[in-house]
């Protein structure tokens, strides 16, 4: 009897410990984000207050209003940055997906010489640190006159994303049985038709998750963008964030507001496809 009670007590302690651990872990994950959101809604006086004001006394959307009301107010052309970010990220994602689908299909469906070598070569191009790549790219782009243009940054991001999209999409095409496409071809489809009618719809979740990753990479990239952009013509949000840091002072509230603006599209997109995200990554990579 006594042993039973001891056992039950131990189980209970374990389960409580588990809950506490889980709660703490989740708090650590969420807290920085929540703190940013909260700070963006408070007046600067409260952020800088000493001793700290823990419970916000007044909530206002001033920072957002100032940010979106143009250059005059906050001094930062957020709308331009936002538009640049969207245009560059979406375009480069679409192109990277198209190239990735072609490449992934080739790796999944054909045998050819030097296959694993080419594959490894593709992956190695991705390992080049952005800042190391930015030095020669800066030089080349300046010579070609495509520095500070959408085109230049899109080109760079496509190259950045292609290896990873090929990797993920390759894994997904491998999961689609070859027989299905062959059956379609026997029924009179061309290979092209078989791809679009049979294989593409089946691999769509994987392609979606590859797309999200490509989008997030372009949306969040800083090392290349900080050197290849100069003005509102092509500056993206991550680079724009630095506008809030002056020589000695930082406009914390404005920065927090911009941070929220940056994270919201990324979060929304991820939630839409989050179901496919994990399965996409794992099955693509494990069985790939």
């Amino acid at each position: 009897m006594n042993e039973n009670a001891a056992h039950r007590l131990k189980r209970r302690a374990l389960s409580i410990g588990h809950s506490v651990g889980l709660f703490l872990a989740m708090a650590v994950i969420c807290l920085p984000g929540l703190w940013i959101v909260l700070s963006s809604l408070r007046p600067t006086v409260e952020i800088l207050a000493k001793p700290p004001v823990w419970i916000p006394q007044e909530i206002s959307f001033d920072a957002y209003v100032a940010m979106f009301s143009g250059v005059g107010q906050g001094g930062i052309p957020v709308l331009d940055y936002f538009r640049n970010s969207i245009v560059i990220s979406v375009t480069s994602t679409v192109i990277a997906l198209a190239i990735g689908m072609a490449g992934g299909y080739a790796f999944a469906r054909y045998r050819f010489k030097g296959k694993s070598g080419i594959f490894l070569g593709f992956m190695l191009t991705r390992t080049v640190p952005g800042i190391a790549l930015s030095l020669p790219l800066f030089f080349v782009f300046a010579r070609l006159g495509i520095i500070d243009t959408h085109f230049g940054l899109i080109l760079a991001y496509v190259a950045l994303n292609v290896p990873f999209t090929i990797w993920l999409i390759d894994g997904f095409f491998r999961q689609v049985p070859k027989d299905l496409a062959e059956a379609a071809q026997i029924d009179g489809c061309t290979r092209w038709q078989a791809f679009w009618q049979v294989e593409f719809p089946l691999a769509r979740p994987g392609i979606a998750s590859a797309g999200i990753f490509a989008f997030l990479t372009s949306w969040n990239e800083f090392a290349l963008a900080s050197q290849l952009t100069r003005s509102t013509a092509s500056k993206t949000l991550p680079v724009g964030l630095l506008d809030y840091t002056a020589e000695f002072t930082i406009d914390w509230r404005g920065m927090c507001a911009l941070a929220v603006v940056m994270i919201v599209p990324a979060l929304t997109l991820t939630f839409i496809v989050q179901k496919h995200l994990v399965s996409g990554l794992t099955s693509g990579a494990v069985k790939g």
Binding site: H18, F164, I263, T270
Partner: protein, 298 residues
Amino acid sequence: MKFPRPSAPTLLLLPAFIVLAAVVVVPLLLSLWSSFTPFRLTKPDSIWIFVGLRNYANLLSDWEFWVAFGRTVLLLTVALNLEMLLGLGLAVLVEKASRGQRVLRTIMMFPMMFSPILVGFQFKFMFNDNIGLVNNALQALGLTDRAIPWLIDGNLAFIAILVAEVWLSTAVFAIFILAGLMAMPREPMEAARVDGCTPWQTFRYVTWPFVMPFAFIAMTIRSLDIARAYDIVKIMTDGGPAKRTELLWTLIARTGYADSRMGMANAMSYFAIILSIVFTFYFFRKLAAARQQIGAEW
């Protein structure tokens, strides 16, 4: 027909080849050449002066460079190991949860959506010695009455950067290890328990070997974009104070753009590139071996 028609895989891979050649390979060749010259952005003609390995020779004896190099390796090693351990812990915690798994999993992935530059800024804000959350909390709890100079002291700044980096990237490990845990068959664990294994033994000899390939995938993915730490450091300390948190990447940026010594910066870049390739290659090999161990097809 004079030219044989190119085969289907060639055609399909052609766009990828072209883009990667244009944006990565050709610029890298250019930077390789310029690493043999005293090239300065302000003196464009200097790209034609060939000095052989002088830049590299200078680097080899440059103490500052090797300190930054060593610090980068240290940061990567500590960060990757910590992320692996914490990711494992987090995955086990979430896997054991009986309710709300989907919500927990979503929250777990939360940091992955953050831009590294954003994470850098966020932690710069939190570690601010005057108005930061960390100091405010420590003071409010009465643990200390002075403002800890988190980003001003060299060692503390290194820790702050490490915290930011770990916060950002633990999710990658947690997700993969969790996927591994969920894909794991139940029978071996039950068999182990029947055979009288302690929970620790079950974990060490049954669960871990099965989950390991998943951890290595996460490692491989992480090592692919390991240099993202640049963004965090750039905004948190920018290599300061007095170069005490200078990493290879911030050093490259400073030498290349601020001092406009492109040739020298490109020579440094090659060290950084080789470092990344070594990391990736190592984990690729490990991954292949681990895959074979669980009998997955390559």
